[in-house]
Point group: C2
Chain length 236, copies 2
């Protein structure tokens, strides 16, 4: 903000409303899903929507905290991978007036959320993502927000360790490869994939732990302690 162009706070121009909206991704039955909620009130009553809500200026210290509050309210998950994607704001996206949505994406392990379709009176449901969208028409501009988040996710998957956050704490290398393949929608060469993962150095074998497999037992891996998201020096 700069003094020269700043309106005094006593101006008649009302500020926009500000919300956070979340694209919460998880793998359900090996396919990428997003969490949607059915709206119970107008506008867009009975339409599916991304979980979200207004910023509570009286309790949220910052925008990330507002996103974490919404995530916890909807999924009971507290410490997932959470990333701000982009802000959307215009006079037309909400019939109640000029509204800014600060869009986030979260990656969680579906097992941690413990949600089941139809199990909640508010109608919270995992929906499969196909061709960068979901089956039901969404409220507001949420289909645009969701598509933007999916593009961000796919772009990052090409050159980062991000997908590991969709897995449970312990996993095998075939589990990890399957997640990259599912999100990117293409098969990968097993030995080339393993070479890149070894180079990126963000997972470690759990000594002595193996899982029975059809041919020979598969080594169990975990994220290296304290590992931040690793970016590869080129795409997979």
């Amino acid at each position: 903000m700069a003094g020269a162009s700043m309106l005094p706070l006593t101006t008649e121009i009302s500020p926009p409303n500000v919300t956070v909206d979340l694209s919460i991704f998880a793998l359900v039955e090996q396919a990428l899903h997003v969490l949607l909620m059915k709206r119970t009130t107008d506008p867009f009553a009975d339409r599916w929507a991304l979980p979200g809500g207004y910023i509570h200026t009286n309790e949220d210290p910052d925008v990330d905290a507002a996103a974490r509050r919404v995530l916890k309210d909807k999924t009971a998950v507290e410490t997932p991978y959470l990333e701000q994607v982009q802000s959307f704001g215009d006079r037309a996206r909400d019939p109640r007036g000029w509204t800014v949505s600060i869009a986030y994406m979260a990656l969680i392990s579906a097992a941690d959320a413990g949600l089941q379709c139809g199990s909640n009176a508010a109608e919270v449901c995992w929906w499969p993502i196909e061709d960068d969208c979901v089956a039901p028409p969404l409220a507001f501009d949420h289909s645009v927000i969701l598509a933007t988040s999916i593009r961000r996710l796919r772009n990052k998957v090409e050159y980062s360790s991000l997908p590991v956050h969709l897995l449970p704490e312990r996993f095998t290398l075939p589990d990890l490869q399957a997640i990259y393949e599912r999100i990117l929608g293409r098969r990968m060469d097993k030995s080339a994939f393993r070479k890149r993962i070894a180079e990126a150095d963000f997972v470690e074998a759990v000594p002595g732990e193996k899982r029975a497999a059809s041919n020979r037992p598969a080594q169990i891996y975990r994220l290296k302690p304290g590992s931040a998201t690793i970016f590869f020096d080129r795409t997979l």
Copy 2:
């Protein structure tokens, strides 16, 4: 927004203020600079700040339009490269209350802006960027916003055609290479650079136009018509 968690608009909780703040980059004397304005009012009177202002819900159709309005007010430039970077919002960044800043970065050719240090009563000035910051202490959290924008710029420069927007309409390949080198802070091999630029295919020679140089005349190039920002398949 989802109905279940949405507060009614009659709530006592006031929405945050919302501003757009711009990191406007240009090359001045071959070095990367950012446009700063000296604030004339409190808070932070007499401190340098990124140009910005509140969203005018009565005239701005959307957030990008608000950013373009601020850019035009400060630089008289209308059609630059403009990109939303990230939103910053918390209860402490502005002493007047909970404020969200939607940060943008713009790339312009300094020749188009026609600004000169000290030429404007509002004290608008290009400041050189060194080590991801500028010399004067900035108002609000603008040093954090600026550092985030510089990181975004450098990351994109590594694998995109973005820097071409810092050049005048017509340029030589040595001009283009110099810009990449200045922003990334490292020298590049001339033939490898030319190979990558040729592969990326976003510039074209202007037939018959050459510029006198010390050894032999340099071919003049321009951005291919209608070219969007091109992303390379690997870093430079």
